[in-house]
Structures are given as structure tokens and as C-alpha cells.
Amino acid sequence: MRLPRPPRLRPVLAGAALGLRAPLRSRFVFALLALLGAAVLLLPVQLKGDGTTAGTLRMLLAWTLGAAVALLSVSTLWAGCAAVSGDVEGKRHAGAAVSSARPFELWLGRWLGLVALDAAVLAVVLLAVFVQVRARGLGPADTAVRTYLPLDPASFETEVDRVLENAIARMPPDKRPDGDPARRAAMRESVREDLGGDAFLPLEPGEGRHWVFRLPAGPDPGPATFEFSFMSSYGESQGVRGSLTLRRPAGATLAEREVTTDDSGYVRIPLPAGTFAGADAVEAVFENREGADGAAVLLRHDRAARLSVPAGGLPRNLAKTGLAVLALLSLLAALGLTCGCAFSFPVAAFAASAVCAMVVVSGGSAFSSDDPASHDRSHGGSGGVSAAIRPFARRVARALDAATAPYDRAEAIDRLGDGVAVSGPAAWRALALDGVALPLLLGLLGAAALRRRELP
């Protein structure tokens, strides 16, 4: 079997130049720029914020940028669909098809041209958003970005053991797993899954929950913020009463506070710079001080306690957001181009849009859940024609989820709007996988379609 030859630079660059020139010399770009201008410049004027700095920032960063990214996404997808299919239907493709340029080189060139245009437009949009933020008098102090410190993995396992012991202590003596290591291990695994997942677990009166955060090495990270989120299990009437303590592990207390129902489920403790001087970890402890008949407090372990420290400024966060968004646009350009290689423009646009719709739906669908049996139960049993389709649908949903997971995990726009640092490694990973690797795979499909396509 002959190995495929790598693409040559000149044919690829020729296609890229064409891919850049085509939209720039059409009315398409002007229409797009006008819509983007409306999104970035006019939309913030129309939106009413909540009067707070954080709310204004969220509006300017997340909503405005979100609208601009949505516009860019749709236009990129459809421009990709039109690029090759338009040439085929307009009988402009014959010259290229009879040239010595290989189909993958033709695809790659057009894709690079689209991505380059997207990168340029995205840079302008991000700059416009940044200028707007500054024009509203929001300086570096207002737009400082923070990052949440991760939980210490070893302390998490210790907490699993503690929660397990508490749970066993609450069980009737005859139900306890004493002398049954296998059952105890299964219970521990179940507690571990719950504690590490997104479930809200009850903290009964008299019990406590611990979190340990590893501090970054180096100088004091600066003023930090500790946030505690909780829910009352039985509604307002039962109430919540607990104590929240921040301390060095087996060391001095750094902050202490009572937590009650009046806190409305959220506590924020600012910690001045120097609080953590000399420490390499911080422990947070919450104890439910209600009496034996009191209410449990519901906590989602990974979100209940969060410690954030400063992590750079807005420009760097915007740049990382740009990387993640460029990954998405690259993928959409590739999807559109590949569909355009196989089909006429209307069919390509429909197919590409349908794939995007499936990705959006699959992300929130039970088809992507890990418990097929529970999904079958909730959807009226396991028989019939739909039962034959469900395994396939499940695989498709998971494949689509996996395809966009790198971009989703970066959570770029949400974090930007919340003033939280976008993870640099996550952004680069999104660019590498969703922005380059997956598009190149789609390119192979597109090239194969182009090779087979007839030009009557």
C-alpha cells in the first residue's frame, strides 16, 4: 500500500490566498462586519446591566462576545459550505480539478484561508470588546482575573473515608458492612463517585466537611477570595446553622465565620494579601451545628468551597479565550468545507447545520449519559423500534460530545464573563484537538469526497 504523500506548500498557499480573497472581495464580509459591529458596539448600549461592576463586565464580555462568536460561527460554517460547492456548481472547479494539486491540498488551502480570515476578524472583535471595557472606566483593578485553586487529591481521598464513616455510623448496626470488605469497598466507591461528581450530598447535623487547597509555589499570591455555597435540604423553615473555618492544616486559623440561612446559600470571605505567607496549603472546614433534629445542609463537594487567587489581567484572558474560540471556528470551517466537497451548497449547509444541532442537543441529552438502563426507563421501556435505534443514537451522541469536549472543557466565554482565568493548557488543547487535529481528519473525508465527485 502506498503511503499518502504530504501536502505541498505552494498548492496549499495558492488555495489559502483564494480562500482569503473570495470573502474579502465579496459583499459577504461587509455584511458580516456590519452585524459584528452591531453585536459588539450597539448591543451593550441596549442591554441594561445590574449596576454592579461584575454585572457590567459579564454583559460586555460574555454576552457581547457570545453574540459575536455566534455570528462568526454561523458565517464560518456557511462560508465553508459555499467555498468548494460554489466553485463546483459555478463550473470554476474544473481547472483546479485537472491540475496536479491533490484534493487534500485543495481542501487544506481553502481551510487555512478561512481560518486566517476568522483569526483576523476575531482579533478585531476581541480588541473592540477590550476597548469598550476600558471606555466604560473599568480599569485593571476592576477587570482583574482570578483562578480557582484545585483541591488537593490526597485530602479528597481522606474526605471520602470520613464521609463513608459518617454514613456507616448513621446506619442501623445490622446493616453496617462490618466484616464485609467487599461491601465496604463498594460503598466507598459509591461515596467517591458521589463526592467527585455533581451531586449535592447531605451533611447531617454534627458532621463536618473538609477541603484542602494546595497553594501555588512562589511568592504570596496576593489578595484571595474564599467562596462557600450551600443549600438547605428542607426549605427555609428548617434553617441552616454552621461554622466555617479557614486554617493552615493543623495550624493557625486564618478566618472564621458563622453560616446561617440569612446568607442565602452563598458566603464570600475576602482574604488580604499576605494571609497565606509561608503556607503551602489551606484547609477549609464546615461543620453543621444544628441539633440532632435539625436540617442537613446540601453540598456539592467540588463547588461548595472554592478558593481563588489573582491570575493576571483581562488582556491575557481575552487572548486565551480567542485561542479557544478560534478552535471552534476552525472546526466549523472544516465541517462546512467537507460538506461542501460532497454536496451542493443547499444540501451542504443543511447537513452541516444539522450536525451542529446534533452536537448542541447531544450535550444535554440523556443519550450521552452513562446509564443506558435509566435512560430506557425514563423513556418508556426498552422495546420497539426505538430500542433498536437507541444504542446507535447513544454512540453518535457520545462521539459528538467527545469531538467538542476539548472546546467545552475550556469554558472560555463563561469564565471570561465571570472574571475567572481561562486555563491556558485547556485553551491550547482545544486549539490542538478541535482546532487542528479534528479538522485535518475532516479534511481527509473532504478530500475523498472531492476525489469521487464528478464534474459533468
Binding site: 483564494l18 480573497r21 491540475s99 494539486a101 485543495l106
Partner: protein, 287 residues
């Protein structure tokens, strides 16, 4: 020139059936066409509208998949990039990118053919000069051009990679008489340079002026093929040509031609015009 002296192209038993959306056969556009061209030949492909000329050409170049038969370009699959590197193609409808200038158009195709920058610059300048677009027209968008001017750009594009095989589908379409003459001269030059040319045209006069061999298609089949001189020769008639011989002497000339010793007597076979021959063949196929 083809180094191995193998045919520039060779088609055997080509058949193309166009099907509808459901896969049912709708039209048999080409039915059993076999065609080949030796290196350096100028081959004309003639036929009325719908005879399968363009379809045959597209199968030769790999733009359409034959329903049956085989095609080789320089001994290779027509989709092989190395084979295509030696082909220049001017389609019947050479729609170019309207927003590109002729210079940018040629630069684009030069890039696709992986031509180095220096070669690209020289060749683009020479071709623009050759097709009469070396002035300000070279930097105007093709969308502003007339059909004839756009055709000139297409012709330049077909010659950009200095191809060994040039396929021209209606090359003079839209050109004025001067342009048509220039194209004919160009084709003759290409033949003299040893390039193989496949020319498809409705204009019989221009085919007869430049082609060494023709193939006539009708109804998707080759109805006649061969050297132009052989096809047009009417072997059932002999023409005597004599200087100053009166008509009454013709019977005696036939008896005494050998003994008469006339110095300027020549005998040859009259040739019909290509147009007459073409109509005869096509008319016969229709019956």
C-alpha cells in the same frame, strides 16, 4: 514530447451512462468510444451538439468516471497528479473566479501546479503577452471582461504548466476573427513544438486548418476517425489535371496518357470539403 513515446492519451471502449437520483439510467452520452493520440498529434474531435464530445473529454481527464471502458493519460490513471501535471485544459465553459485579475488567476493556477516563483513570474508575463492581455487588462477583475477576453485568460491558464497534452474544448468560442486566427496559429505552434493537442470544436474550417487527425462523434459513438487527408479523399473518383487540354480530348487522353509524354500532366483524386464529409457522416448516422 512524451519521453516514452507512449500515447498521450488512450481511451478504450468508453461508455458513460448518466443516471437519475434513484440510479436509473437516463442518458447514454458516450457508447463505446475508443480514441488515442500519439505524441505530437493535433487531434480534432467533431460532432453535433449532444454527441458526447465534452463528456468524452471529461472522462479522458478524470472529471467523470466512465460507466465502462478504460482511460490512460501518459500511461497512468487520469486522476494521478503526475499525469495531470502534464495536461493543460480549457473547458467549454471556463468560468473563472470573477474577483481575480488575470494575473492573480494565473498566479493561483501556477501555485496549484507547484511552479517555483521565478518560473511563475516569467511564464505569466509571457502568456499574458501571448494572449493579448499584457496591458492594464492584466490587473482588472475578470468579472469585468467580455466572454472573449475571459476565454483568452482561460487559454493562458491551459498553457501555464507547459503541458505535453493540451485539451481545448471550443477554444475560439466568443473570440473575434483575429482572436480565432491567433488561436489557430497557437495550436499550430503547439503542434510544431511536439505537444499533443486535442481540439473539440464546432467550427469545421478551423479544425481542418490545424488538425492532423479527426474523430467524428455522433450519438455517443465514433462514426469516423483517421488522418484528415485520408478521410477527405474520394477514392472512387480520379481527377486528371492537364494544362491547356481541351475537354474534347479527355477520352483520347485517357488512352494516350502514357504515350503522349505531356510535361505538365498530373493525375490526382478530388477531395470533398470537410463540411460536406461531416454532413454526410452525421446524416448517415442519423439514418
Amino acid at each position: 514530447m512524451n519521453e516514452n513515446n507512449e500515447p498521450a492519451f488512450e481511451a478504450t471502449g468508453l461508455r458513460k451512462v448518466f443516471r437519475d437520483f434513484w440510479g436509473r439510467p437516463r442518458t447514454v452520452a458516450v457508447d463505446g468510444v475508443s480514441l488515442r493520440a500519439a505524441p505530437g498529434e493535433v487531434v480534432g474531435l467533431l460532432g453535433p451538439n449532444g454527441s458526447g464530445k465534452s463528456t468524452t473529454i471529461k472522462m479522458l481527464l478524470g472529471l467523470l468516471r466512465p460507466s465502462a471502458g478504460s482511460v490512460r493519460l501518459f500511461g497512468r490513471d487520469p486522476r494521478d497528479p503526475d499525469a495531470r501535471a502534464r495536461v493543460g485544459y480549457l473547458p467549454e465553459l471556463s468560468n473563472l473566479h470573477k474577483f481575480l485579475t488575470p494575473r492573480e488567476t494565473l498566479a493561483y493556477y501556477a501555485g496549484l501546479f507547484d511552479l517555483p516563483a521565478a518560473t511563475r513570474r516569467k511564464r505569466i508575463a509571457a502568456l499574458l503577452e501571448r494572449v493579448g492581455l499584457s496591458g492594464p487588462g492584466a490587473d482588472r477583475p475578470v468579472g469585468e471582461f467580455s466572454k472573449g477576453m475571459a476565454r483568452r485568460v482561460g487559454l493562458a491558464q491551459a498553457l501555464l504548466n507547459d503541458p505535453a497534452l493540451v485539451v481545448l474544448d471550443e477554444p475560439t468560442s466568443g473570440l473575434d476573427p483575429i482572436g480565432r486566427r491567433e488561436v489557430k496559429d497557437l495550436i499550430l505552434d503547439l503542434g510544431r513544438m511536439g505537444k499533443t493537442v486535442l481540439l473539440s470544436s464546432h467550427l469545421l474550417a478551423e479544425v481542418s486548418d490545424v488538425c492532423t487527425r479527426v474523430a467524428i462523434l455522433a450519438g455517443g459513438r465514433v462514426r469516423a476517425e483517421g488522418r484528415l487527408a485520408d478521410l477527405l479523399e474520394e477514392r472512387d473518383r480520379i481527377r486528371f489535371t492537364a494544362a491547356g487540354l481541351p475537354d474534347a480530348a479527355v477520352p483520347r487522353v485517357k488512352e494516350s496518357i502514357a504515350a503522349a509524354g505531356a510535361a505538365s500532366v498530373s493525375v490526382d483524386h478530388p477531395a470533398a470539403t470537410l463540411e460536406d464529409y461531416f454532413l454526410d457522416v452525421v446524416g448517415g448516422a442519423a439514418k
